[in-house]
Amino acid sequence: MPPYLICFWAILKREVLRFFQQRSRLLSALVRPLLWLIVFAAGFRSALGVSIMPPYESYILYQEYIVPGLCAMIILFNSMQTSLSMVYDREMGSMKILFMSPIPKSFLLLCKLIAAACLSLLQVVIFLLLANIVDVEIPWWGFIYAIPSVFLSAFFLGALGLILSNFIKQLENFAGVMNFVIFPMFFLSSALYPLWKIQESSLWLYWICQYNPFTYCVEMIRFALYGQFNIQACSVVLGCVLVCGFVAVGTFKPKK
């Protein structure tokens, strides 16, 4: 096997092993979106109806509407936790070992991002399977179509997390990431409400949501789950992947 491939598999395997060993992380990754789906969505189901809008071809229940947003939420949390694990690795010294490799730093970071994206993908698939149990029907081919969308979104958000990890000096500062990155990104997007509904209540909020790249991750996944391709969302996410990918790899500081 070529050395670069051996290296890639090792990084992927390490991330997967660590993920499954941190049982609370695995559990919270699934419980969080399921709570939103079962409790939050059930409560809002009667209050919020969603009219016919692409990609849906008929009226849908609110539960069905928020599934793509919850998929994106899983990716967002996992990506930010990856940035936390980067900070942990830096504090514990594992990052030094990674960069003692003769393989280029950019390739190693790319492997880290791909590994994190694979973990996000895995969590999203498990969530979608569980969502089916609570009567949210996703067509089986939707799973297949969603894979590239989820992967691309995860890569973008992972790269964003990597950029943020440059600014996080200690593990304790992660609470700031929750308050200033995760929550604003999630709530100021189309994850919970369609943009036209937000526009009806507040125009400035609508514009913020329009300029939030996370909105496009949600929409790309939403369309993909129903076998459709949203070219605008895909272009925005792809652009973010390229910009954040280059910035993340170029600016990463292995040592504080």
Partner: protein, 242 residues
């Protein structure tokens, strides 16, 4: 296979940490002695490319650390002061992970480490999680790990600090034997004077300056001291305190 440090100066937030360091390490066991805060770890982080050189030059035979980092990393084994093992992975998983970062397959890693781990009395702990190992055993794993890719140079930063006498003895004897058998250029940094032998090339660092260098017994004769401890105290403590 030599390491040459030429006119290296390094400052951290305008505070000088290393000043005008010049030294050359030949194959064998070289000791860098200095008190805590002397700049040993900073020098090591420059040697390992963890920090960028601000002034001066570091070369590993023909390779310059500022330009040929990847080529140097392929030939460099390092044990850092702080444990860098993944506590949640097993000994074997840690070792194969490191081997893979150097492009080595798990089978190759296992072949290479089996004799080393046998020597270090760790072969029965391969499947144990690192978290369950004591500090001495973790150090031994790190020693085994730094040899996986068959390096030509070995840098060890206070590798025996905090270990019991038996573990210290086992590790230092193992490294000395490796240096001789495989003609490695070893830089052993420490503040523990009993780890220095009279024939060792000795470099004494204090307050960011290299204050003395030479073979230990030559330095003892030059400064008319009978032990490394006396030599070290004479060179590093202000005259008024002696």
């Amino acid at each position: 296979m030599s390491i040459t440090i030429t006119d290296v100066t390094y400052s951290f937030k305008a505070k000088p940490v290393l000043s005008d360091i010049n030294l050359s390490l030949k194959p064998g066991f070289n000791v860098l002695l200095g008190p805590n805060g002397a700049g040993k770890s900073t020098l090591l982080s420059l040697l390992t490319g963890q920090r960028k050189i601000q002034q001066g030059k570091i070369t590993f035979t023909d390779y310059d650390i500022s330009h040929d980092t990847r080529a140097i990393m392929a030939q460099l084994g390092v044990v850092f002061q702080q444990t860098t093992l993944d506590l949640d992975l097993t000994v074997l998983q840690n070792l194969t992970y490191f081997g893979a970062l150097h492009g080595l397959s798990a089978a190759t890693v296992l072949n290479r480490i089996t004799p080393v781990l046998t020597q270090l009395a760790l072969i029965d702990r391969l499947q144990d999680k690192v978290r369950s190992l004591n500090e001495g055993h973790r150090r031994r794993v790190e020693i085994a790990r730094c040899m996986i890719h068959l390096p030509q140079y070995l840098l060890l930063d206070e590798a025996t600090v905090g270990l019991d006498v038996d573990s210290r003895k086992l590790i230092i004897e193992h490294i000395r034997a490796l240096a001789t058998a495989q003609h490695l250029t070893v830089l052993w940094t420490t503040h523990l004077m009993d780890e220095v032998l009279e024939d060792d090339p000795l470099f004494i660092l204090n307050q960011g300056k290299l204050i003395e260098q030479g073979v230990c017994h030559t330095l003892l004769a030059k400064h008319q001291q009978s032990s490394v401890f006396d030599l070290y105290r004479t060179l590093t403590q202000p005259q008024g305190l002696l």
